[in-house]
C-alpha cells in the first residue's frame, strides 16, 4: 500500500499567535513551528497501516523553508520519504489554492490513500482534505476515528456528534483523521538518526504544473483587511451561592450561549 500523509507546520499550539503588520498573514517568526498536532495522528495511522500490511509512506508538506522540519519529523517517526512543496509564490495561499497545489502534486503518483489530520490548529477550517478529494475525483473519507483497508475496500468510522457512521469506499481515497484514532509515537533516537538519510524531494509551483498566478495572497478568495489585538482577559463573574447558585450559573451559561 502506498500512502501519502499530508503534514503542516503550524505555530506551537500553546504560543500566542500573531499576524504580521505587512500583509496580515501569519507571523511565522513569532512562535516555534511544530507539526500540526492532528497530522501526528495522520502519520501514526499511515505507519500503523503499512507496518501491518507492508507499503510505503510519503510525507508531503507545503510551506516555507522551515516547513522542511515538519517533513523531517514525519521521517523521524518512520515515514519513508518526503515531498516539500516550497515556493515564494505560495505565501498567503488560501485553502482553495493549497488544495490545488496538493492535488497536482499528489495526482498520478499511485497513492492508495492520502491521509490528513482533520484540521490544523492555526486555520481550523477542515476543508483541505475534502477539496483535495474533490479535485482528484476520489472518495472523501473524512473525520475517521478508525480506518481499515482490505484489498481495494476502505472502511472508516466517521466521528459524528452522536457517535459514528460506518462509511465504505473504494481506494484510492482521501482520509482525514480525528484524534481518537490512535496515540502518535514519539520519534526514537534510531528514527532521528535514520531520518537523516531519507530523501526529501523539493517541488516548486512550476514543478507541480500550477500557474503562480493561481496561488498566494493575491489569488486568495478572502484576505484579512485589518485586525486588532485580543482584548485582555476580563474579570470573571462571581456568583454567590445563596441556594440559587445552580440556576444562576445555568442562566449565565445560557446568556453566553454555552448551553
Amino acid at each position: 500500500m502506498k500512502i501519502a500523509v499530508c503534514v503542516k507546520q503550524v505555530p506551537d499550539t500553546w504560543a500566542e499567535k500573531k499576524l504580521t503588520d505587512a500583509d496580515r498573514t501569519l507571523d511565522r517568526e513569532s512562535a516555534d513551528g511544530v507539526m500540526n498536532e492532528l497530522d501526528e495522528y495522520a502519520v501514526e495511522e499511515a505507519l500503523l497501516l503499512t507496518e501491518a500490511s507492508g507499503g510505503e509512506v510519503v510525507a508531503v508538506s507545503m510551506g516555507p523553508d522551515k516547513a522542511e522540519e515538519t517533513v523531517r519529523k514525519a521521517l523521524q517517526m518512520g515515514a519513508d520519504s518526503g515531498i516539500h512543496i516550497v515556493d515564494d509564490s505560495l505565501h498567503g495561499s488560501d485553502a482553495i489554492a493549497t488544495s490545488l497545489v496538493l492535488s497536482k502534486v499528489l495526482a498520478d503518483k499511485g497513492f492508495d490513500l492520502i491521509i490528513f489530520g482533520s484540521e490544523s490548529t492555526d486555520a481550523r477550517m477542515s476543508v483541505v482534505p475534502a477539496m483535495v478529494a474533490e479535485r482528484l475525483g476520489v472518495p472523501q473519507m473524512t473525520f475517521a476515528n478508525k480506518v481499515e483497508v482490505a484489498g481495494e475496500t476502505l472502511k472508516i468510522q466517521r466521528q459524528t456528534e452522536y457517535g459514528y457512521d460506518e462509511v465504505e469506499s473504494s481506494t484510492p481515497a482521501v482520509v482525514s483523521v480525528v484524534e481518537k484514532i490512535n496515540e502518535p509515537r514519539y520519534p526514537s533516537f534510531k528514527g532521528i538518526m535514520a531520518a537523516k538519510k531519507k530523501p526529501i524531494e523539493t517541488v516548486t509551483v512550476a514543478d507541480a504544473g500550477v500557474d503562480a498566478g493561481q496561488v498566494g495572497l493575491a489569488a486568495a478568495w478572502s484576505q484579512v483587511d485589518q485586525f486588532s489585538e485580543r482584548p485582555p482577559k476580563a474579570a470573571g463573574v462571581k456568583i454567590e451561592d445563596d441556594g440559587s447558585g445552580g440556576v444562576k450559573i445555568a442562566e449565565y451559561l445560557s446568556e453566553q450561549k454555552f448551553i
Binding site: Y186, F189, K190
Partner: protein, 384 residues
C-alpha cells in the same frame, strides 16, 4: 574553540523528550508521587521511545546512540520529574550497562534486548547497611559450590529492584581473598524470583516517591556459575567504571531539576501579584532567579564537557566528579530558592517545586556523595 552546541540529532532527541515530559509525564506524575506509585505506563512509553536503549548498539535492541544522548534525555525528564529520570538513569546506567560492558555474549543476548526496550528493568546491588562510600568493604558473600554461586547477604537502597518488570539485580559480593589479604569482589547476576532472594517492602522516602527502591536479602541464593558478570575479582574496578560515567548522568539529572526550578519560578514570578505588581518585579525575586539560571547553566556546561570527553574516549573522571558535585549542590540550592519564591505554596506537595525540593537532597548522596567527589577532585590535585 570548543563548541557546546548540540548536534542536530541530539537537539531533536532533546526536543522529543522535552515534549514527552511536558505532555505525558507532567500532567500525571504528581498523583503517582502522592500515592508513592510506580508509573508503569509512563515507563512503558519511555521504552517505546527507545530511551532505555539510547547508548546501546542496535544488535542488542539499542538505539545506536551514545551516553551523552542518555544524559540529555535524563535532563529533560528531570526538568519535570526526578522519579522517572532516576528510573531511566538506574535502568540504563546501573541495570543494563554492567552487562553490556562486562557481560559475556550469552548474557548480553539473553538480557539486553529486554532491558534496552524498557520491557524489563535491571538493578545494581552495591550499597550495604555498613558499606556506602567505603563500597569495597562489603559483607555479602558468594561462594562457589560446584556449578553454582551461593549468595548470602543484604543490599540497601536499590533502585528499580522490586517493580513488576524487574528481571534481575547484579550484586557485588566477596568471592574470596587475594594474596595481599584484601577481599576479592566479583559481580553476580541474580534473576528476580530466584529462591532465597527476597525484596523487602518499599522504603518510605523523602523524595523520588514515584521511583522504586528496596532493601534486598540473599539467603543461600543459588545461581549458575555463568552468572558471574565480568572477571572474578574485578567487581570493584568494574563498578568504579560504572559509577564514573553514572556521575555524568546524575549531574544531568541535577541540571534538569535546577532548570525545572527556573521554569516554574519564572512563570510564578510573572503571574503572582503582591503589593500591586508581579513579584518578579522585585529585585529580591528576579536576582534569585538570575542566580538560579546561572547555576543551571554552569552545571550544564560541566556535564556537557565531561560527556564530550567520555564520548571522545578521553579521561573524564575528574570532570565527572566536578560536574556531579557542582550540579547536585546547585540543584539543592535552586530547589530551596524556588520554594522560597513560591512562599507558602512551595511547602504544598501539589506544587512541582515542593517535589523538586524533596527530590534534590538525595542528589548530594546517591552514586557518590559530595564528600567522595571532593575527595576525588582533591586527590587529582595531589592533596588530601
Amino acid at each position: 574553540m570548543p563548541d557546546f552546541r548540540l548536534s542536530p540529532e541530539h537537539e531533536d532527541l532533546r526536543k522529543t523528550v522535552e515534549a514527552f515530559a511536558h505532555d505525558v509525564v507532567a500532567p500525571v506524575i504528581g498523583d503517582f508521587y502522592e500515592r508513592e506509585e510506580f508509573p508503569y505506563d509512563i515507563v512503558r512509553q519511555m521504552g517505546d521511545m527507545g530511551l532505555f536503549g539510547l547508548p546501546f548498539p542496535e544488535e542488542y535492541g539499542g538505539m545506536g546512540g551514545d551516553y551523552f544522548a542518555l544524559c540529555l534525555a535524563i535532563e529533560e525528564l528531570a526538568r519535570v520529574d526526578s522519579s522517572v529520570a532516576i528510573t531511566l538513569e538506574a535502568g540504563v546506567s546501573l541495570g543494563a550497562m554492567p552487562i553490556y560492558r562486562f557481560g559475556t555474549e550469552e548474557q548480553k543476548q539473553r538480557w539486553l534486548p529486554e532491558l534496552t526496550s524498557g520491557r524489563m528493568l535491571g538493578a545494581f546491588g552495591l550499597t550495604e547497611s555498613s558499606s556506602g562510600s567505603d563500597a569495597g568493604d562489603i559483607a555479602t558473600t558468594a561462594v562457589r559450590d560446584g556449578d553454582e554461586w551461593v549468595v548470602n547477604g543484604a543490599k540497601v537502597f536499590i533502585t528499580n529492584s522490586g517493580t513488576d518488570i524487574t528481571g534481575l539485580v547484579t550484586v557485588t559480593a566477596r568471592t574470596g581473598t587475594d594474596e595481599a589479604g584484601r577481599p576479592e569482589i566479583s559481580a553476580i547476576l541474580v534473576p528476580s524470583g530466584t529462591p532465597g532472594f527476597t525484596v523487602a517492602p518499599k522504603y518510605s522516602k523523602v523524595g523520588w516517591n514515584a521511583s522504586d527502591t528496596h532493601e534486598l536479602f540473599f539467603d543461600d541464593v543459588r545461581v549458575p556459575a555463568e552468572n558471574l558478570v565480568g572477571e572474578r575479582g574485578r567487581g570493584y574496578a568494574q563498578f568504579l567504571r560504572i559509577l564514573d560515567e553514572g556521575r555524568i548522568a546524575i549531574a544531568a539529572l541535577a541540571v534538569g531539576l535546577s532548570q525545572g526550578c527556573v521554569d516554574e519560578s519564572v512563570a510564578y514570578a510573572n503571574s503572582r501579584q503582591a503589593f500591586g505588581k508581579p513579584i518578579g518585579r522585585n529585585q529580591a525575586m528576579s536576582f534569585k532567579i538570575a542566580d538560579m539560571e546561572a547555576r543551571t547553566h554552569v552545571g550544564r556546561l560541566a556535564y556537557y564537557e565531561a560527556g564530550a570527553r567520555l564520548l571522545a574516549g578521553e579521561p573524564f573522571k575528574h570532570q565527572a566528579a566536578i560536574a556531579k558535585l557542582v550540579a547536585t549542590e546547585d540543584a539543592v540550592t535552586n530547589a530551596r530558592e524556588a520554594t522560597q519564591i513560591f512562599g507558602g505554596y512551595g511547602f504544598m506537595n501539589e506544587y512541582p517545586v515542593a517535589r523538586f525540593w524533596r527530590d534534590s537532597k538525595v542528589l548530594e548522596v546517591g552514586e557518590g556523595t559530595s564528600e567522595v567527589q571532593r575527595m576525588l577532585i582533591a586527590r587529582e590535585l595531589g592533596v588530601g
